[in-house]
């Protein structure tokens, strides 16, 4: 793969270029990651030593005090409740969404029915509709259904997405149709075909979609901010964003909470990194 673009005149020149490229990339990687190191560092710093100048990456007297406080003593364990809320809603949306998006993706990929193209274009068109437009009526619908300030207000709208259906359709279109025909002749029912042929064959795409769903739901802000109003119903992200002004708590505490919020996603990201890249490529449809 090296020197793919060729044309570099001598071997020595090309070595120099490679070295330069590595230097640039190391610089960019450092610039990308260093802000998060500041977050981690602040979370280990006692509040009264925090705002020091010049800024340091390694805290002078590192301690777990902030972690202890945010997890156990802050507002009677409110943080734990936020963590549960986020975990529960993310889990429900991911499992339910994977099933529904795969089912719908399969139908749009392999089945013929009246109105298919129109419906599919309408679904795709929703990708261009900004959240600011749908926010108010969606909020009112949730209110009318009596779901305001419940988990369902988060879960139900997240159960299916245009992006998810599109991605699964792209993937399932590439599976051989003969497989489905064969099992149909063998007498398998439609649902059986979906469950025991399509789902197993779609696992790579489902893994990618699953990670995207987890991360998007875990990190969502505007919608949970609007529909979950009581302190105990908040998600981690909304809690961390609103808590500062409400309780006037210190920065180190917020950073400890932020580290605990990002950590599960970081672990997931490291474990599933190959699916991630693959998934983005599938979503882009190439």
């Amino acid at each position: 793969m090296s020197a793919t673009f060729g044309g570099i005149r001598s071997r020595r020149d090309s070595m120099l270029w490679q070295a330069l490229f590595y230097l640039i990339m190391i610089g960019i990687s450092v610039a990308t990651v260093v802000p998060f190191l500041f977050m981690a560092s602040t979370s280990f710093t006692e509040s009264f030593t925090m705002m020091t100048y010049p800024p340091t990456l390694i805290p002078k007297n590192p301690s777990f005090d902030n972690y202890y406080e945010i997890m156990f003593t802050f507002q009677d364990g409110l943080f734990g409740r936020w963590f549960f809320n986020t975990l529960f809603t993310t889990g429900m949306i991911t499992v339910g969404g994977l099933f529904l998006n795969t089912l719908s993706g399969y139908i749009f990929a392999k089945k013929e029915f009246y109105g298919k193209d129109i419906i599919f274009s309408l679904i795709l068109a929703t990708l261009m509709v900004p959240g600011a437009v749908t926010l108010i009526p969606t909020f009112q619908i949730i209110n009318m259904l009596g779901l305001f300030n419940t988990y369902w207000a988060l879960i139900i709208p997240g159960l299916s997405s245009a992006f998810g259906i599109f991605m699964m359709r792209q993937f399932i279109s590439s599976l051989p149709t003969e497989l489905i025909e064969v099992s149909k002749i063998d007498g398998a029912s439609e649902l059986r075909i979906f469950w025991s042929i399509i789902i197993p064959l779609s696992t790579p795409a489902m893994a990618a979609l699953g990670i995207f769903t987890v991360i998007n739901t875990w990190n969502a802000f505007l919608w949970p901010l609007v529909v979950l109003r009581s302190n105990t119903m908040r998600t981690l992200v909304v809690g961390l964003a609103t808590v500062q002004s409400e309780f006037n708590i210190n920065y180190g505490l917020v950073m400890a909470g932020s580290v605990l919020t990002v950590l599960p996603m970081l672990i997931l990201y490291i474990l599933f990194q190959p699916y991630f890249v693959e998934g983005l490529r599938m979503g882009y449809g190439k």
Partner: protein, 312 residues
Amino acid sequence: MSLTSTAQSTPRPLPVASKRRHFSRKLRESLFWYLLLSPSLIVIFGFSIVPMFWSIYYSFTRGGMLGDHPFVGFQNYIKAFQHPIFLQTLRNTFQYAILTVPIVIVLSLVVAIIIFQLPKFQGFFRGTVYFPLITPVVIAANIWAYIVNRDFGPLNAILKLVGITPIDWLGNPSWAIPAIVMMEIWRGFGFYVIIFFAALQSIPKEIYEAARIDGALGLRIIWSITIPLLRSALGFCFIMATIFNFQLFDAVYVLTRGGPAWKTSTVSWYVYLQAFESDNVGFASTMGVVLLLIILTLSLVQLRFFRSDIEY
């Protein structure tokens, strides 16, 4: 499974007698598929498509979250385009996008090409540049608030080293937008790097071989072969970046709450304020619809511009 191999290649014979029977069978099947699609369709129609039209209707009415919505015709639209704060947020939104989109695309294209050149650690660097995207904007923005803090932030500490007087990034009207733009670029560019990288991988190597035999050199190959072949990826990235950046909300909420003096407010932020704090649903919907029209127009123009007939 064994005797089916012939069956699949012969088309199922249609009853010659009736097109009508075929029609009714397809109708029955359609109903079956709609039944299975219904949960997805209810969610997407109920929480995206219906709300969109509902919002368009609201944009011609006056009223709050509850109660009546009397029809007022185009009054809200006339008001919007004479409304100094809305016009300010509209200008700001364009400013964010105009600053962010080109920089983020060029930066990520260059980074993707550099990573693509590297003989080793491609995966590592891709993983690192994408990393900020797995963190919530809210948290990234919180960190950024510290980075650009006037008194103890690292950015000003660096500027001081090169002899520049510290800047009050988020408090100074002319620096607040650049500070937020920097954050958006830092957080978002990894996404486009991955897309460009995937597109680079899909270009057949023979094309480069041919160019090299013809005596073309490095930068020239990139300029006249790689970039044109990346046309559809470029189009995709431009459209996505435009859609994302015209909807800026989270960062504004955390970093500046729209201040100082509305200088960092975006349309999305002002819609949120009008709807949920001033209970002004009609006017909020109007501004939302204006944003929708802008995004739609820009997306369609870009789609047209980047339409590619290159197959490889």
